[in-house]
């Protein structure tokens, strides 16, 4: 027993020496990154941990939190509004990924086309939606999609289509949100995809042309595979952004929980209903979902790399 204790003491002393030596050797680099870690700890790490702590309590934001164990998490599984918010967010994710990526590739391909005249102008115009304030655009979209006087219904009326209750119908209320989300975010990803396209060597296309490949074959055999890493990055970013969607459904509110996103539900629960504990539980669940989705994505990528 005494020998074991002696060995442990020696080992601990060794570890301590190693730490001291490392700190001495790299003291300046550590000092330089210390501000970030201090701010990160105070403004992000501590609030994250505090969120997890209060997710096990009942708290209105005033007074002390009251511990309720797993009650908030149990309520999540019974709460139909939570499941509505998840299914809405899932729809925003899927439509966002499909349409934003697709449109980004198409628009970036056009912008990269060497015979396109006025390329700078088109690049500027393409990026404009991303620059406009989200809330302002949301308000304009709510007017456009108004059931009684909106331009969209006026336009549809020209073709004999009856007015659609875009924001007053539980079935249709997600559509304006999806359109606004795609319209606002496509430019950003277009720029990223365009940067990827610009990095593809021209020689590949020249060689393919010589071999008789047409435009579509070049696109599917050269462009897309070369853009794989960029597209994967866009996919990850879009996934995180889609699960955090807030502005669009907040402004274009539909009846009931027909188009409420998970993030919005968390905000409403915390800051309109003042159920901070329950809102924290929703936040933890959102983090958990994003973690699972990201792990699956990275696993798929690793498998692809191995192939």
């Amino acid at each position: 027993m005494g020998k074991v204790l002696e060995k442990t003491k020696i080992r601990l002393a060794g570890i301590k020496m190693t730490i001291i030596q490392t700190l001495k050797k790299y003291k300046y680099p550590y000092l330089f990154i210390l501000p970030f870690f201090l701010l990160f700890s105070v403004f992000q790490l501590f609030p994250m941990l505090w969120t997890v702590v209060i997710s096990f309590s009942k708290w209105k934001g005033i007074g002390k939190p009251k511990s309720v164990g797993l009650d908030n998490y149990k309520l999540l599984f019974k709460d139909y509004m939570f499941w509505d918010a998840i299914s809405n967010t899932l729809i925003y994710w899927v439509t966002g990924v499909i349409f934003i990526l697709l449109l980004s590739i198409i628009i970036a391909a056009f912008l990269n086309y060497n015979r396109l005249k006025g390329r700078s102008f088109f690049k500027t115009v393409t990026f404009l939606p991303n620059v406009c304030a989200a809330i302002a655009m949301g308000i304009i979209f709510s007017m456009l999609f108004d059931e009684n006087v909106g331009l969209v219904n006026e336009f549809l009326g020209l073709f004999g289509i009856e007015s659609i209750g875009w924001l007053t119908s539980t079935k249709m209320s997600k559509i304006p949100v999806i359109i606004l989300n795609i319209w606002r975010n496509t430019p950003w990803f277009t720029v990223i995809v365009l940067s990827g396209l610009l990095n593809i060597p021209r020689e590949y296309y020249e060689a393919a042309t010589v071999d008789g490949a047409n435009v579509f074959q070049q696109f599917f055999r050269i462009t897309l595979p070369s853009l794989y890493n960029i597209l994967f990055f866009c996919f990850i970013t879009l996934t995180v952004d889609s699960w955090k969607i807030f502005n669009e459904p907040f402004i274009l509110k539909g009846p009931g929980t027909s188009n409420v996103s998970l993030f919005q539900y968390m905000y409403d629960t915390g800051f309109n209903l003042f159920k901070m504990g329950y809102a924290s539980a929703i936040g933890c669940m959102l983090t958990f979902i994003l973690l699972i989705v990201s792990l699956i994505q990275f696993r798929i990528m690793r498998k692809q790399d191995n192939i």
Partner: protein, 466 residues
């Protein structure tokens, strides 16, 4: 050596900055310094208040109140020589509450406002959380001079958490021009049953062009038709004697929701969001004949449909035949924040007192509001209300006195629904079911059933504050 000293200095500066930035969360509320004087004492007080800014949170159109406060400050420079008043506009009572709660939780007490305008539902939690000053000593001697029930919603036990600001009844605005055009007698709308009949007749005679009123596809239907209108006047209940959910079994609730169901299912209500341009356009086009809503709607009509000035008249809200009471009055309050180190609690009291008891200043301000088509409410003091100024005719209402109607409509008001700390969430749950009903996803019976089910699942029992 120099490098070492520099590195240590940098580290110390950084750490100091972090600790200072985190702030001193002094949760000790210095309530004795803020203790309000009584309503009688403050008249004799000539205390001079220190220089600074008195901040008030307000929603709606608080910029018009700023005009009163600025004039008031000029008249009271002897006690507030270097004080300024700023009204910060918030989205609503719950937004004000959120801001105060978050500011308080962060420890930045100097950023708390000195006072705020608030509704009974949000007032309750702030008061019980000791974020508001108990003004019972100040306002109790004045109760007899105020309209009946003015302080009820702010009273919890022997504490009064806010000063009453306004008590406004539910009324019925109707477009007299349309009623004359279709030869309909507006006095038939003294009952809900008569109101619905009038709606049917308007629809028939106008070939569907004219609607009895509107219905909001969002949360405002519950707020204006339900909580403040049909439910209180049907003697409906959301919660039972012990706080249990009864909305789905209560006969009054069924009566109220059925009335709304009849109006909407028969196409008597235009589906359009309130406060939005589409509604005002419909009013200007002569598509909406009436508004069964709170007296506050006066300011929105005067501001947004000035072209229809002279077409509108006002009646007391219709009552159910078997019940006999009109909608419940809506009270709003002026609460003084229990701000650590706050300097202006007494000044807020004086400000409130003069606003409600200084007849001339109030009349001057109201005249200015009329010229600007700006909002104002009737006073809550009996003495002021008795004055002929509050019976003056209004050009917008074709010579009728809106002020007089607002005063008389309080007489037959229903008792408000019981206010509980769970009401914020309950309103959300009930409203969601009504929104789905308006969207056509469920019948009214299904909506009522789901209200009960979801209230039990998510809230269970309400806490009835005695």
């Amino acid at each position: 050596m120099k490098k070492r000293i520099f590195a240590v200095l940098m580290l110390v500066t950084l750490l100091t900055g972090v600790f200072v930035g985190c702030g001193d969360k002094s949760s000790e509320k210095d309530s004795t310094a803020n203790k309000p004087t009584t309503g009688e004492e403050q008249k004799d007080t000539k205390k001079v208040f220190p220089a600074g800014k008195l901040v008030i949170y307000g929603y709606g159109q608080p910029q018009y109140l700023q005009q009163y406060f600025d004039a008031w400050l000029e008249k009271n420079r002897d006690i507030a020589p270097e004080v300024s008043i700023e009204i910060v506009q918030t989205e609503g009572a719950s937004d004000s509450r959120e801001k105060i709660t978050m500011t308080y939780a962060s420890g930045a007490n100097e950023d708390l406002p000195d006072a705020l305008y608030i509704d009974p539902v949000n007032l309750l939690d702030l008061g019980q959380g000791e974020l508001l000053i108990d003004v019972a000593d100040f306002v109790t001697p004045l109760k007899d001079k105020l309209v009946d029930g003015a302080t009820n919603d702010a009273t919890v036990g022997d504490k009064i958490y806010a000063l009453p600001e306004s008590v406004r009844p539910q009324v019925l605005f109707y477009n007299e021009k349309l009623f004359k055009e279709y030869d309909i007698d507006p006095s038939r709308m003294s009952t809900i049953e008569g109101y619905i009949e009038v709606g049917r007749e308007l629809k028939e005679k106008s070939n569907g062009k004219v609607y009895l009123s509107y219905i909001d596809p969002g949360s405002k239907t519950w707020r204006y038709y339900g909580r403040r209108g049909l439910l209180p006047q049907a003697n409906a209940k959301i919660w039972g004697e012990d706080g249990e959910v009864v909305i789905d079994t209560d006969s009054g609730a069924k009566l109220a929701f059925d009335a709304l169901d009849i109006m909407y299912s028969e196409g008597l209500l235009l589906k359009t969001a309130i406060f939005e341009p589409a509604l005002y356009d419909a009013v200007k086009d002569g598509q909406i004949a009436t508004f069964y809503i709170g007296a506050f709607w006066d300011e929105f009509l005067r501001k947004n449909v000035t072209e229809t000035a002279g077409d509108w008249k006002v009646l007391s809200a219709p009552a159910f035949e078997n019940v006999g009471v009109a909608g419940a009055p809506v009270s709003s309050y002026f609460a003084i924040v229990n701000k650590p180190g706050g300097k202006y609690a007494e000044l807020c009291q004086k400000l409130w007192y003069d606003f409600h008891f200084d007849a001339q200043a109030r009349e001057d301000w109201v005249n200015a509001m009329e010229e600007q088509n700006a909002p104002y409410a009737n006073p809550i003091t009996k003495e002021l209300l008795a004055d002929d100024f509050w019976k003056e005719p209004s050009k917008f209402y074709g010579g009728q006195s809106f002020r007089e109607i607002e005063g008389s409509a309080l007489e037959n008001g229903a008792t408000n629904l019981v206010v509980t700390p769970q009401d914020v969430e309950a309103d959300n749950i009930i409203s969601i079911e009504l929104e789905k009903y308006v969207a056509g996803d469920q019948t009214m019976d299904e909506a009522i059933k789901n209200m009960g089910k979801n209230l039990r699942n998510k809230i269970g029992k309400a806490e009835l504050i005695k």
